[in-house]
């Protein structure tokens, strides 16, 4: 079981009102729990949001442009317009997330005041601060962050992220990077678990120093043998089979960015990716899902290795 304790006593984001309390770690991480086994879809307008909801998405993520268009457009990519986000919030009953720039505390505050259900501090947008992410304990609204490895994930959780998504390379339609990173994260977790089982506390301390995180979070993660928060896969997912494969690697769910609304069969593909994510352990159901899409209508992919802009590297060093 994923622990839901560990509130920071000094967090500004915890609000006591009479007998009830908001913004606790349990309430924030609990929100991410409700998304488990589901698909979060990137959308840019209310029509796409309704298609996503109709297809069975657990949530939608609002952007001004889909990641592949962010890549094409160049320049500075910022948080989506408040008007667009509001319109989408009024069009669907499922939770609505939106992205802010890495380290941009005030874009995050704007999103929190807009009342989005979760904020994604995302490398798809142009980072506002390369050295510091947002101190997320100060928010009642939960955050999700990207990570390519165990150390990166744990640093984000220590800053208050209530959920992690393993980074792929956004806007490419190429799932290779997402697969590499979830495997790297799993390797890190296996190592941590092995060190825990060996009761080598000094080695855990060495890991904490190398990873630039506290001993406590290393120990907790090592004991659990998994991240202490919900972990979704993201970046480059284009087909039902992509989604099912990532689920089989131990992800709790899937983020799909450009893969759906940059294809030419968006509504079918959205339903198919949801089915494959739920029934990933039943190969015949994944085949049925894969049959619902037309490969000739998939978004044209990009080879992540030869790209100039590698969004995944943004914020990774801090």
């Amino acid at each position: 079981m994923i622990p839901l304790a560990g509130d920071r006593r000094d967090a500004v984001g915890i609000v006591q009102e009479g007998d009830s309390v908001r913004g606790t770690t349990r309430v924030k991480r609990g929100f991410a729990h409700m998304l488990k086994g589901g698909v979060v879809m990137d959308v840019t307008n209310a029509e796409q949001a309704r298609i996503a909801e109709e297809a069975g998405a657990v949530s939608v993520m609002v952007l001004d442009k889909l990641p592949s268009d962010v890549r094409k457009a160049g320049g500075v990519a910022r948080t989506a317009g408040v008007g667009t986000i509001r319109e989408i919030m009024e069009s669907v009953t499922i939770p609505v997330m939106a992205k802010c720039r890495i380290g941009h505390v005030y874009e995050a505050q704007v999103l929190a005041e807009t009342d989005v259900d979760m904020i994604d501090e995302s490398e798809v947008l142009t980072p506002a601060d390369e050295a510091r992410h947002i101190w997320k304990w100060d928010f009642i609204t939960p955050f999700v962050n990207g990570a390519r490895s165990l150390p990166e994930a744990l640093r984000r959780i220590e800053e208050g992220a209530a959920m992690i998504r393993t980074k792929g390379e956004p806007g490419t339609g190429n799932v290779a990077e997402a697969i590499t990173h979830i495997k790297k994260l799993n390797d890190g977790l296996r190592l941590a678990r092995a060190v825990y089982d060996s009761k080598d506390r000094q080695e855990m301390m060495r890991m904490a120093r190398e990873y630039r995180v506290s001993f406590d979070i290393i120990e907790e993660t090592a004991r659990l043998g998994r991240l202490p928060v919900v972990n979704f896969a993201a970046g480059g997912i284009a087909t039902p089979a992509d989604a099912a494969y990532l689920m089989s690697l131990g992800c709790d769910g899937i983020f799909v960015g450009s893969g759906i609304f940059k294809s030419e069969d968006a509504a079918n593909r959205a339903r198919a990716v949801v089915l494959a994510t739920t029934f990933w352990d039943q190969p015949n159901r994944v085949r049925e899902a894969q049959e619902m899409i037309d490969e000739r209508m998939s978004m044209p992919g990009l080879d992540a290795a030869s790209m100039e802009l590698r969004m995944q590297e943004r914020g990774a060093a801090s």
Partner: protein, 193 residues
């Protein structure tokens, strides 16, 4: 299907072990799995998603039949919505989502607001003999009307958040996030009767 499945499997195992009852806890995704169990937990998650997925595999029909013939159940948040006979969204009105209709109650979705309004508080469920239960409410629904055969178990700020009819219990809050398996023990009890 989707949602807080793993945590409910854990809480159900915890309940069995606390009661020293031997039993198996399995995940139910198919109609054949529905016929294999003595009691069922419908966990929290996204109710629209769960409804659509259940329809996809005829699991909803199999489940309705078992529940109508008296199988005990614990429906949590989205699970309570699925058990209910009527649902509407606080802002958007009718939702048109598939329902089981085995608990004759009317539900308001997202009754307490969006995620920023999600909260935890202590709940007393006197008819079940459970008090001081930590209720975790995540974009929770509330019950706005009940038929005479449905018993109200608990309310928060005048909103009904837990109900029961026979062996079927529904809660707006998430017992699997509380670390307290009392409601899961109650389900095991109902299954043994």
């Amino acid at each position: 299907m989707q949602g807080d499945v793993e945590e409910n499997l854990g809480a159900a195992r915890q309940a069995l072990s606390e009661m020293s009852v031997s039993g198996e806890v399995i995940q139910v995704k198919t109609p054949s799995a529905v016929s294999a169990v003595d009691a069922i937990i419908i966990p929290g998650g996204e109710s629209t998603t769960i409804g659509r997925l259940s329809m996809a595999g005829d699991t909803l029909a199999a489940l309705r039949e078992r529940l109508n013939s008296g199988m005990p159940a614990l429906g949590i948040c989205a699970g309570l919505i699925l058990l209910s006979s009527q649902v509407y969204d606080r802002r958007m009105g009718s939702t048109g989502q598939p329902l089981l209709g085995v608990l004759d109650v009317r539900l308001e979705r997202n009754s307490f607001g969006r995620q920023r309004q999600s909260f935890e508080t202590d709940i007393d469920m006197e008819p079940l003999g459970i008090t001081g239960f930590r209720g975790v409410f995540i974009r929770a629904p509330s019950v706005t009307a009940v038929s005479p055969e449905v018993e109200v178990l608990a309310s928060v700020d005048g909103r009904i958040v837990a109900v029961r009819r026979g062996g079927i219990v529904g809660t707006s809050f998430h017992p699997e996030l509380s670390g307290n398996a009392a409601l899961h023990r109650n389900l095991v009890d109902a299954a043994r009767r």
